[in-house]
């Protein structure tokens, strides 16, 4: 489709960028259907959650031994995907990598949606969600739970700011250009554009703020994954009692986040007809980035599993045998192969870094990332230091109940709904930033 993107770029004018980006926001064929579908799924999930609230956590598959089940695996997954915001717009932005400009906003939208839902998933896992504030009121400074709550809230706020602030010039355009928007939305544009008219002073001022936040989000983003890993690593359980968990989670989050971004890029490119902006070059670059982060993650995996696997201390031995050759072998090896090894092998070839192939590979990577979280959380709970015996049969195995699965689907639908709504009311590709980059002059009228 876009064999020579450079040639097309020369034909871009500010008017064309504006039209191309704003068109999908005004023209929404099929979108209602998609939103109705998501809301239906969410309603069914809400009903399942109501059943869980009414009858207690006994309706889930969780029991005395496996007390962290599907929900926590989900939480870790959502947190992981949300790291993409920090990776793309902040780290690469600060390094002045210029090709990220058209995709950085998509990355921020994913980050906001996933970290918001991650916070919610934790509440969904609580038997008494009415006591959630007690974590803050009675939280101990020594407990990673308190750090986790703090850091997720902080990351959500900074991500939201990093979504809105770079968008202020675009919103000023939206305010002017989108005539068909409902009054509520027009008001939102008016408020969020902060009277921006692109004076040199404003431009400087705004970019100073954005750079501050970009620097700020790096430690917060690292903290959110490190703290999530410490929820596990601060215990003595085999499989969690390891020093590499912090960097291991961060590396895994880079992989999951990149995969989610590539999938989103593909869908926006096709559905919003943004081939001129999200070009093959971007998929190519993202493919290379994916290889890099996969290799880092692979390296941490070798450390995480090979080192204890070499020693096979009694407890670790039981755990690792179950992962390598036992009950969890299929999940474990498929998540390693499809989420790590095969993508690296494929993506070093240029033809697999074309939009469609890399999107399909990313779906595998993302699904594997989810299964990997499942394998991290559940098997460890099933191998306590004292053997499980003389307890009811359903204590000895864990399988998520239909209620748990439905509530999980709810969280995914909710994340997709947030992304859909954000991408509907905000331009997914930064108009002014691209114009700046291409050296196109533009004016924003009051």
């Amino acid at each position: 489709m876009n064999d020579l993107p450079e040639q097309k770029e020369t034909t871009l004018s500010f008017e064309k960028i504006k039209q191309d980006v704003l068109r999908p926001m005004q023209n929404h064929r099929g979108l209602e259907l998609w939103i109705v579908f998501l809301i239906t799924v969410i309603s069914v999930g809400a009903w399942a959650y109501y059943v869980q609230l009414r009858d207690g956590l006994g309706v889930t598959g969780m029991r005395d031994y496996v007390s962290w089940g599907l929900y926590i695996a989900n939480f870790v997954f959502f947190v992981a995907v949300s790291l993409v915001g920090m990776l793309i717009s902040s780290i690469l932005g600060l390094l002045k990598v210029d090709w990220i400009a058209p995709i950085s906003r998509i990355a921020e939208i994913i980050a906001v949606a996933f970290v918001a839902v991650a916070g919610l998933v934790i509440v969904l896992d609580m038997g008494r969600p009415d006591r959630v504030l007690n974590v803050m009121i009675h939280g101990r400074f020594q407990s990673p739970i308190l750090w986790d709550v703090t850091v997720i809230t902080t990351y959500l706020v900074i991500s939201a700011l990093l979504l809105i602030l770079p968008m202020i010039p675009d919103l000023a355009i939206c305010k002017k250009e989108i005539k068909t928007a409902p009054p509520m939305l027009k008001k939102l544009y008016a408020i969020l554009s902060f009277g921006y008219t692109n004076t040199p002073e404003q431009h400087k001022h705004l970019h100073k703020m954005i750079r501050t936040l970009m620097v700020l989000i790096v430690p917060v983003g690292l903290a959110i994954h490190t703290v999530t890993s410490w929820l596990f690593a601060a215990t003595l359980r085999n499989g969690w009692d390891t020093t590499i968990f912090g960097p291991y989670f961060v590396a895994g989050a880079f992989v999951a986040g990149s995969a989610a971004l590539i999938i989103a890029m593909y869908f926006f490119r096709v559905n919003y007809k943004l081939q001129d902006y999200i070009t093959e070059l971007h998929f190519d670059k993202m493919g290379k980035l994916m290889v890099a982060v996969c290799l880092v993650y692979l390296y941490f995996n070798v450390n995480e599993f090979l080192v204890p696997g070499y020693k096979m201390k009694t407890g670790d031995g039981i755990h690792l045998k179950e992962l390598f050759t036992g009950h969890w072998a299929i999940l474990f090896w498929s998540s390693q192969l499809f989420g790590n090894i095969i993508p690296v092998i494929l993506l070093v070839t240029k033809k697999f870094r074309k939009p469609l192939p890399i999107m399909i590979i990313s779906i595998f990577v993302l699904a594997s990332a989810w299964f990997k979280r499942y394998v991290i959380v559940i098997p460890t709970m099933l191998h306590p230091h004292l053997p499980i015996q003389n307890v009811p049969d359903n204590y000895q195995h864990y399988f998520p109940s239909s209620v748990e699965i439905t509530v999980t689907v709810l969280s995914f639908a909710l994340a997709l709904l947030i992304i859909t709504v954000l991408a509907k009311i905000f331009p997914v590709v930064p108009i002014c930033e691209i114009a700046d980059q291409k050296g196109i002059d533009y004016k924003i009228e009051e």
Binding site: R140, T150, T154, V157, Y196, E201, Q389
Partner: protein, 306 residues
């Protein structure tokens, strides 16, 4: 050669046998307790209710009776309570062991009623292949009494605790009650420490005397909370006397939760962690608010230009 093997084998058996006997003797049961008989008959109903109690309280460690699937604890695994080797004991011995516990085996003195404990004995006895006809042992018969009194006499100098149990007969005489087991206990942080010794049964004058342990810590003044009660409330109902006595070693208590540590309460969190947490939160949110404040200034900058 064959003889040599036989000799070695028999020596081995003797050694094994004697060591098991020695092990069994480790858990000494006072003679008076051994003589106790199960007052409940081995009816199907009693056995099944015993089984229920067993499954709730005993099974998690001892496994199923006769199945040998007990928890493999170290250094000593729990016994299979359905095995014949275990059931050679008298009812009273099993009852005593349930009551007192030892090491990893908890005491069920408080958590199970007398009836429940005897039901468990009834259930276990149902696995006994050579059910011995219960031998009637001559028991001391106390006269029927009312107004049972337990009187304590504490000698704080010699650290001796003497208890006396009497009752009023129908004729109006106060007589000593004989052969009744007393529990003499000291309150500690969680539950009670039993200091009764092996044979705290009242003698023919209704007296029990024990030597209080010399090394037991008390509070700053050496006070301890002493509780003396009739062990088996089937005889005279709940009968107990408690007293604060200066029998312990004066001790300044140290609560490990008082120091600042990672395992402490929030109020006792280490300073460095409070500082790091608060510093991180204030620093980062400070910058966020700074940015938000600058954001509000953005419209003003547009007007400046004009």
């Amino acid at each position: 050669m064959k003889n040599a093997i036989k000799i070695i084998a028999s020596l081995f058996l003797i050694v094994v046998f004697t060591t098991t006997v020695v092990k069994a003797e480790d858990w000494a049961v006072p003679n008076s307790s051994k003589k106790k008989q199960n007052p409940y008959e081995a009816s199907t109903k009693n056995i099944s209710s015993g089984k229920k109690i067993y499954n709730i309280n005993c099974k998690s460690c001892h496994g199923d009776a006769t199945m040998g699937n007990m928890l493999p604890l170290q250094p000593v695994a729990p016994s299979d309570l359905g095995s014949q080797a275990f059931l050679v004991q008298s009812d009273g011995e099993i009852y005593y062991k349930i009551n007192k516990g030892r090491a990893a085996m908890p005491t069920f003195e408080k958590t199970l009623s007398d009836e429940a404990k005897w039901m468990v004995v009834t259930y276990l006895r149902s696995f006994d292949k050579n059910k011995k006809a219960s031998k009637q042992v001559a028991e001391i018969k106390n006269p029927e009494v009312t107004d049972v009194k337990l009187v304590l006499d504490i000698n704080q100098e010699d650290k001796k605790v003497a208890a006396n149990l009497t009752g009023l007969t129908k004729k109006g005489d106060r007589v000593a009650l004989q052969g009744i087991e007393l529990s003499i206990k000291v309150k500690r942080s969680f539950g009670y420490l039993d200091v009764s010794g092996d044979d705290a049964f009242t003698d023919d004058k209704g007296n029990v005397e024990i030597n209080f342990p010399a090394d037991l810590p008390g509070d700053r003044e050496g006070h301890v909370n002493l509780l003396v009660k009739v062990t088996d409330d089937a005889y005279y109902g709940e009968l107990a006397v408690d007293r604060i006595a200066t029998l312990g070693v004066p001790t300044d208590p140290v609560n490990p939760l008082d120091e600042r540590a990672m395992w402490g309460t929030r109020a006792n969190a280490p300073i460095w962690i409070i500082v790091s947490y608060a510093g991180g939160v204030i620093g980062i949110w400070g910058i966020i608010f700074l940015v938000l404040f600058q954001l509000i200034q953005l419209p003003k900058l547009a007007k400046n230009k004009e």
